[in-house]
Homo-oligomer: 205 residues x 2
DNA sequence: CTCCTTCTGTACCGATCGGTGCTGAAGATG
DNA sequence: CATCTTCAGCACCGATCGGTACAGAAGGAG
């Protein structure tokens, strides 16, 4: 048992799984879980149904993996915003990041986590719940970061981190809906800036 | 041709079309256009497929009629808000109305116009475009009202009615997404109030 | 080469999709 | 009563849904 490296036996797969997942992510992003058929997905991925099932399990697992890829790719602005030094910079980076991510040329308009499945019937319920959980997780991360900001004197002691986090994600979700409807990046940028006008001032530690 | 009243000949229909449309509206509201199957719809409406097609045309027409009913019913807060005397009151009524409408007990959570179809594949494209148009129409109504507010000195001369209207609908859409995820009414109310903090002061005519 | 494992493509599965033809039943009119 | 018109219900349409059985192709190991 001295082999640390994986030694793939058998016929190697004839496609780039990473690229295939990227393509699948875009289809889900544009059409939602239920709106994306296996035919749509496999055509975009450039592989057959059989290869997709062998590599990713089934449609629901493919959706989960596409969501993970979305989180680490187009939605990585969220994690980056959390690392900003002050609460105001966190808020600004978060909303500006959401504008950029939902209006990126060459990518689907809007947010995977919003339009991927807001409503569903039948088999789509799991996907809808998954994305609700995903959105709430983002809110929780933001809330924790803002709690720290209160401790650091970066927000007034009477500031409500829960409310502020919920406010930011609500605006970000609204931005995603507007972007999905085709609103231009510059317009959304102005909306985001307006939403930041009422941000509580720092107390100065 | 002196008969002004309609004289329905033949067998009268055996169900209440108004109530059936109300039920259909709720199914579309909860499950979206593509997520709502004809089986779901007709079961909720308490009628057969044939009766549905005779009374409403097809699925797409039923969706349009359900949207009209939604506009005049649960979404009528929008038209009411436009009739408020001042811009601030318009904005407050609009956001508070959206909170109430998207969190009404006994009704689906969220907004028909948002989750009805943000993303779609195949035949759902028309529904998605219809709702995008619907949301933009609401924004335009709000913008026109706020333009009047500038003329009336109810908003500063340098206020941007386009931006303010887009801001309000963006927040309202975000509220709808949060509500669809199950956020409580009181929480959303606080978010709405926070979004109203930066509303421009009246100049005093 | 032969064996073994894995991947690929075809062809197909039962279920469900939106939509309809047809047969009677039901009420209005005479 | 008979007649006319509309509605209701069943069975069914072709198309598509997500998912899979099977056979052959393609590589590594001996």
């Amino acid at each position: 048992m001295e082999m640390g490296q994986r030694a793939p036996v058998g016929r190697p797969r004839g496609f780039d799984a990473d690229m295939a997942l990227e393509r699948a992510m875009r289809v889900f992003w544009e059409q939602g879980y239920e709106g994306a058929s296996l035919t749509d997905l496999t055509h975009a991925m450039g592989i057959t149904r059989t290869s997709m099932y062998a590599a990713f399990g089934n449609k629901e697992e493919l959706f989960h993996k596409a969501l993970e890829r979305y989180t680490e790719g187009p939605a990585s602005y969220g994690a980056r915003a959390l690392r900003e030094p002050t609460a105001r910079q966190v808020a600004t980076a978060y909303l500006h990041g959401s504008v950029l991510a939902t209006t990126r040329p060459g990518a689907p308009a809007g947010c995977f986590g919003v339009q991927g499945s807001l409503a569903a019937g039948g088999t789509g319920g799991h996907a809808r719940d998954t994305l609700t959980t995903w959105r709430n997780a983002h809110t929780a991360l933001l809330r924790d970061r803002l709690r720290r900001a209160v401790d650091e004197g970066d927000l007034p002691p009477d500031a409500d981190p829960d409310l502020l986090a919920r406010y930011l994600t609500t605006v970000a979700n609204g931005i995603a809906v507007q972007a999905a409807g085709g609103l231009a990046r510059e317009e959304l940028r102005k909306v985001a800036d307006m939403a930041l006008l009422n941000w509580p001032p720092a107390t100065g530690a």
